[in-house]
């Protein structure tokens, strides 16, 4: 804990009457990729923007690289790099100009040519910002977060709104940063993203951390059970489903029965028998391997979806 790069203790942030962050605590170690996973409006962006020194906190304590983001904002900004959500650049700024301009603000700099190459933007070096595609804009945003060779990098929803192809490109970039042992904090509402990229994940909901650990530990915590999702022609209560042979846990989420089982074949057989006896019918059935989605469902009774 003592040498954590980022420390957050009991962080609270209010917007008027709304409490967006309600007592969040976590620590990020050097060289770690740390993910904040949660639905939109969970308080992820507020938390990250407080760490970046963009927003003030209402109570609690945060430190980044040993600095207070509010009191040492100027110093801190030399140490961090960020790709923000809902940000933009001037339409008529060229790619290379943007990289050069932003790197000029820092004491420590990385060669913009290098970043251009690495983020696959060489051919776009003289293109105006408003002529870039969504994926190119995002790659530029990530490249710009690295112009000062920062100690800590923040990526806020790095793949939101991008198509799967571009998303995979961004994953590759993040995995490369991971190999370089960069300390990276990222927010996301994509489960696969958190599972694939993050060393540790804090699952955030309604301004609180509801689970924290490595993706593997979190999944184990959820029972490591297979998820079976069924839709029935007549509604069924979770109480009855829970009693079936092979079913570890069952609950009804948005009209779908979500069953967790360590012995899926038995669970399915007993479910089908039960339905026949009840004169109920199976409309659809899906089987999913355990994921962080299961952790979220278990903790909140809701799904984590965009």
């Amino acid at each position: 804990m003592a040498n954590s790069v980022i420390q957050v203790e009991n962080l609270v942030k209010r917007y008027g009457d709304v409490e967006a962050v309600r007592g969040v605590s976590f620590a990020v170690e050097e060289g770690e990729v740390f993910g904040l996973l949660g639905p939109n409006g969970a308080g992820k962006t507020s938390t990250v923007e407080i760490l970046e020194g963009l927003r003030t906190l209402d109570s609690g304590r945060v430190s980044v690289c040993g600095l207070d983001p509010q009191r040492n904002a100027q110093e801190l900004k030399h140490e961090i790099g960020a790709a923000l959500q809902s940000t933009s650049l001037p339409d008529k700024l060229r790619v290379m100009e943007a990289l050069r301009l932003f790197s000029s603000f820092y004491k420590r700099r990385r060669d913009p040519e290098d970043l251009l190459k690495r983020f696959g933007l060489e051919e776009k070096r003289n293109t105006f910002y408003n002529q870039l595609s969504g994926g190119q804009k995002q790659r530029l945003a990530l490249a710009m977060a690295l112009v000062n060779d920062p100690k800590v990098v923040f990526f806020d929803e790095p793949t939101a709104g991008l198509d799967p192809q571009v998303r995979r490109e961004i994953y590759d970039i993040i995995e490369e940063l991971k190999r370089e042992k960069k300390t990276l904090v990222m927010t996301t509402h994509y489960i696969e993203e958190a599972e694939r990229l993050c060393d540790r994940v804090a699952i955030v909901d309604h301004g609180k951390v509801i689970a924290l650990g490595t993706p593997r530990d979190l999944k184990a915590h959820a029972g490591g059970a297979t998820r079976i999702e069924v839709r029935l022609s007549k509604p069924e209560t979770d109480g009855v489903l829970k009693t079936l042979d092979g079913v570890a846990d069952a609950r009804v989420v948005d009209g779908t029965c979500v069953i967790h089982s360590k012995r899926p074949p038995q669970a399915i057989v007993s479910l089908v028998k039960h339905l026949e006896a009840q004169g109920n019918e199976l409309i659809s059935l899906e089987i999913a391997t355990p994921s962080l989605e299961d952790v979220f469902i278990e903790m909140t009774g809701r799904r984590l979806r965009d």
């Binding site: 963009l54 100027q74 809902s86 940000t87 001037p90 000029s104």
Partner: protein, 301 residues
């Protein structure tokens, strides 16, 4: 290079790539120039020299439009947020706007002088030091006013509305369009509370009557613009907002209104002494009365 210098260069580059700039900073000022020199002054060199003051004042003042709009657009689109995570400070951001604006206004002003000389054969441009100082302080102070407008408005529409509200009295009650001498008494009295009046009369004194910077007519304009410019710039840095969603504090609008104080006080004094009005009247009469083509000795010292 410092952050301020690189930002200034970026702003100049971006403005030159913007088509709106061409209209507001090139076409419009030259439109005014040829209207005044060709139509109002009928191309007569002395008349052109008389109208150079208002023309230059319009060019200098007009630049606040683009400046306030650009800053609000930067904030609305989330561009300022991106700068907020860098070590760039509000002062870097604002000072670069003001300086870029000055650098971009200067060529237009120089071209206006060049055209006056080559097309309308004006041989004398009065006191060049006075003229330059007034142009410099005028550009900087009106740009700072643009920054204050940007800090108390949230959207481009709001900014444009406020700009219109400010712009019309500035050009119609200051002598920039209708010579002060021709304005009705009430308008004259109101005009004395506007910074534009002192810029127009100051420039006219400098160019038409070659008044030196240390004589009262120009010095007063220089000092009042400097005080007002410093106040508006300081305030715009205090009220600066990076984030589109951050609210305008209630005291902001009050503080913005407080920038009117220097010219409010000057206006009261001028309404009593009638000094600037007399100067404007004398210059106007010397233009219409052919016998008095030169300033009466000592009258403006």
């Amino acid at each position: 290079m410092t952050n301020f210098a690189t930002l200034t260069r970026m702003r100049i580059q971006l403005t030159l790539r913007n088509k709106m700039f061409l209209f507001f900073s090139v076409i419009m000022p030259f439109g005014f120039f040829f209207l005044y020199a060709g139509v109002f002054a009928k191309g007569v060199p002395l008349g052109v020299q008389y109208f150079m003051g208002p023309v230059i004042a319009l060019t200098v003042m007009g630049s606040f439009w683009g400046l306030s709009a650009a800053l609000v657009m930067f904030r609305e689109q989330g561009i300022l947020r991106r700068f907020h995570v860098t070590p760039v400070t509000p002062s870097d951001m604002l000072a670069s706007s003001v300086v870029a604006n000055f650098v971009l206004t200067l060529p237009t002003v120089l071209l206006e002088f060049l055209f006056a000389r080559t097309i309308f054969h004006v041989t004398h441009f009065g006191d060049l030091l006075s003229t330059f100082l007034l142009i410099a302080l005028g550009t900087v102070s009106f740009a700072s006013m643009g920054l204050v407008v940007a800090s108390v408005t949230n959207t481009m529409q709001e900014t444009q509305v406020i700009n219109q509200i400010i712009w019309f009295p500035l050009i119609f009650l200051s002598g920039a369009t209708v010579p002060l001498a021709n304005l009705p008494q009430v308008a004259k009295r109101v005009g004395l509370f506007l910074p534009a009046t002192y810029l127009v009369t100051g420039l006219q004194s400098a160019i038409y009557w070659a008044v030196a910077p240390w004589s009262v007519d120009v010095l007063l304009a220089l000092c009042s613009l400097a005080v007002w410019g410093a106040l508006t710039f300081f305030l715009s840095a205090q009220l600066f907002r990076w984030e589109p969603e951050s609210k305008i504090p209630r005291r902001a609008k009050l503080l913005a209104a407080a920038t009117a104080i220097p010219f409010f006080l000057l206006g009261i004094w001028e309404n009593k002494t009638n000094r600037t009005m007399a100067q404007a009247q004398a210059m106007f009469e010397s233009l219409s009365g052919p016998s008095k083509s030169a300033p009466p000795a000592d009258s403006h010292k």
